[in-house]
Amino acid sequence: MSITALPPTTTPLFERISESKKEDVVRDLSALLGAKYVLHTSYDLMLYEYDASIDRCTPDIVVMPASTEDVAAIVKIAASYNTPVVPRGAGTGLSGGAIPVYGGIVIVFTRMNRILEIDYDNLRAVVQPGLVNLHLSNALNPQGFYYVPDPSSQRSCTIGGNAGENAGGPHTLIYGVTTNHVLGLEIVTPEGKIVQVGGWTQDTPGYDLTGLLIGSEGTLCIVTKIIVRIVHMPEAVKTMVAVFDTMDDASNTVSEIIASGVIPAAIEMMDQMILQAVEADTHAGYPMDAAAVLLMEAEGLREGVAEQVEQIVAVCNKYHARAVRIAANETERQLFWAGRKNAFGAVGRISPEFYVQDGVVPRTRLPYVLRRVSEICASYGLRVGNVFHAGDGNLHPLILFDSHIPGEIERVRKAGHEILEVCAEAGGTITGEHGVGIEKQEEMALIFNEVDLRVMQQVRQAWNPHQLFNPGKLFPMPGRCADIKQL
């Protein structure tokens, strides 16, 4: 069975497409895009049945449009055959947002990956959804600018996917997440209409549709163009690693740094299990016997950074940091970050599989919640590692498991659910940046009541009433794709 509990099965939203209908759809799509850009054999489709979450489901057809007009035409074809459409960036999502739970057509944006415009005077860039996040900053860096949101997967994830999930990253602590950096979108509606929302300027008259669409997980529209804000690179960056002998000391340090009004650019925490995995993988020089390490970064003008570093070090010392190391140069800084950004991958060295949660809690509750996370996992006999955005209170417990052990998946699922219950009770939320997708549909009820959920569903009703786009996501739903694969 899947890691997420299957909701009660009643009538599914969509029937799986029949072979003969599929042939017709493939023919129409091939006429539009050329056969080369329409994948439909099971061999070709297999790559698109999963993302970085745990569920999987094979699409019937994968298409690769080259333009907004292509996307609009694809949507019209899909609508005429009543076949669902799921947009997909790089497939790095962690909540199943890109998994086509009813099959249908998956739109892949690899051919729409261009930077259309960069305007340094007005600090704007216009990009296509398939552009890899890091490629934008790479293009801006020579002029001294960059694009702020930096998910750990930024070397492969796309800005379209970031917009769909409202992606965060380590440096969102002072600068905000994707929604704080997007001013406008070009979108395709379920009718196949191309619409501009927001724009280049601020405060466009009318409802803030851009704000509504960012993080809507592909359930309202398909984004075909994104207008983003770019910013100047900081003059000085100091990266520090503080080493602690207890988790409590590390989390109290985080909460005191924030409370004191010093807001660094990033505060990341890694616990012992993660440190061991990371060291084996990246050799970043992290101590393997420490209970926890904080990776912190101060940036801005030289003078301000010096002041911040002093304050941060003082707090670390107050909470008995065994050592505080400041990266001596850019190479060492990159190494520290490589350790952090590769952490999920590194865990593969110590466990065949892991399940990551994404709860957020008020920062002052971190010590309590982290203790509860270890208690919960211990009570299920599961190992857990923590690597997360501590400054935002955004937890990423990685529960390690092996699906070959009977009953293990069920225990992992229960532990994950209990962790999110604790986050909700502590005044937090069930997802800070990974999205709800199919993974946390049931957990929506931990933080939203029936009225809250109904109001949200009104939005989907207004935009995507027949759930042509990304059906069966976000809300508890009856019925699922029959061939969601078992682990």
């Binding site: 600090l123 929302v197 724009g199 300027t201 601020q202 957020v360 209170g393 939320t429 929506m444 207004a462």
Partner: protein
């Protein structure tokens, strides 16, 4: 027309402690663009707001929410207002989690009262709109008010982390939460902010807070022409200096500020006010480098403000963004200088005068047009200014104007190609048209 008598009777039953008035003299104080409500109801708690809205909905009455009343001029002419719901008794600070830098407050609290409370713990809500003493949290959010410091901190959309909103059927619903990072479900906070009460009534809000700056200074620079001033702005934005606010003041606005606020600025050319916040050492360097940059852009140094004179200056700036005929223009920063020339030409052509303040780093201009009773000339000038704003990838809305003028123009301009999507949202959220129509974009 709804059944107003049974509504009044039912109110007694369901919201007995709410204050209800239908006295003509009182109602006149609550007129919106000359339209008098038939009832003013002042609930004393959130539950009553729900009851009142539900009753209005059931009786087919139209309802409009009002905070401190400082922004009622925003928007088109309202259609009939049966019930005006005043939120100013909902003033509780539900939580100020100082160590988390968050707070949770009711919508009727004034901005000034909130800031005073937060300041006790060395924090503030980083929004600096006009009229802090009168304006309420709910009203500010519903009308998306902001001020000069949005350059650094963003606007309401960047600071709100959760809302409770009474829906058109009277039910209370939550969006977001009380943590700073949250992607669970649709981000409805964004939808309610600036929706002018057309989708629901904001009854309380959770905010992300900031520490009060350790120090703050403002440099005043004067330029003989707009081009130099805006080149300076672009240079500042593209530099490392990270100013918190950059305000551009034209000669018309400068003489207003001298007449009304006793702030004396050169009354020819353009003044640029550049504000920095942070540690003292850092600010010294920021000011130094700004002065160097200013010299390159042919600026004259006017003043270096701190303390009282600085607070008074920014107070004057905030209040000046509201006059009798105020157009708010949002355009690209690089287009501000040419746009200022256009304003001059348009005014000359129509024999009008302008006083302009701009959040120059955001490309947001507040253009005060005079005389305010020159209706036919104003209509033409506004139409021209709007079309130039559109050419500069922007928009023009008329934030304040006399009712005479409002009857004859569209304060928002023609809705864009995304309007049908806004209509669908409105139909979903308010199918019976309970929230007063006419004021929002496209008459929503």
């Amino acid at each position: 027309m709804g059944d107003i008598e049974t509504f009044a009777g039912d109110l007694q039953t369901f919201a007995s402690t709410a204050l209800v008035t239908s006295e003509a003299d009182t109602l006149r104080n609550y007129a919106v663009d000359g339209i008098l409500p038939r009832f003013v109801v002042t609930p004393t708690n959130v539950e009553q707001v729900g009851h009142i809205v539900a009753l209005a909905n059931q009786h087919g009455l139209s309802l409009l929410a009002r905070g401190g009343g400082s922004r009622m001029s925003v928007g088109g002419l309202p259609e009939q207002i049966d019930v005006l719901l005043e939120t100013n008794r909902l003033t509780r600070i539900l939580e100020h989690e100082a160590p988390d830098l968050t707070c949770h407050v009711e919508a009727g609290l004034t901005m000034a009262a909130l800031q005073a409370r937060l300041a006790q713990k060395g924090q503030w809500l980083a929004l600096d709109p006009p009229d802090a003493a009168q304006a309420t949290i709910g009203g500010l959010l519903a009308s998306n008010a902001s001020g000069p410091k949005r350059l650094r901190y963003g606007s309401a959309r960047d600071l709100v982390i959760g809302l409770h909103v009474v829906q058109a059927n009277g039910e209370l619903s939550r969006s977001g939460g009380r943590v700073v990072k949250n992607v669970a479900g649709y981000d409805l906070n964004k939808l309610y902010i600036g929706s002018l009460g057309t989708l629901g009534i904001i009854v309380d809000a959770n905010f992300k807070l900031h520490p009060l700056p350790i120090a703050e200074r403002t440099l005043l620079l004067t330029f003989t022409n707009a081009g130099d001033a805006m080149h300076m702005v672009i240079a500042l934005l593209g530099s490392l200096l990270t100013p918190s606010a950059i305000e551009l003041i034209d000669s018309g606005a400068a003489s207003d500020m001298s007449d009304f606020f006793g702030v004396h600025l050169p009354t020819n050319g353009y003044t640029l006010a550049v504000n920095f916040e942070g540690g003292a050492v850092t600010i010294d360097r920021q000011l130094d480098e700004t002065r160097q940059l200013a010299r390159k852009h042919a600026a004259l140094m006017v003043d270096d403000l701190a303390g009282e004179s600085q607070s008074h200056f920014w107070e004057a700036i905030r209040e000046h963004t509201q006059g009798s005929v105020t157009c708010k223009v949002a355009i690209l920063v690089s287009q501000v200088a040419p746009y200022l020339q256009t304003v001059e030409q348009v005014c000359r052509r129509h024999d009008l005068e302008a006083a302009i303040l701009a959040h120059a780093g955001n490309g947001i201009l507040f253009i005060e047009l005079r005389p305010s009773d020159a209706t036919p000339r104003l209509i033409e000038a506004i139409a021209e200014l709007r079309s130039y704003a559109k050419e500069a990838r922007g928009s023009l809305i008329v934030e304040r104007c006399p009712v005479d003028l409002k009857r004859r123009i569209n304060v928002w301009g023609e809705p864009g190609s995304d309007f049908f999507l806004m209509q669908r949202l409105k139909n979903q959220f308010d199918p019976n048209g309970t929230f007063v129509k006419g004021r929002f974009v496209g008459g929503l």
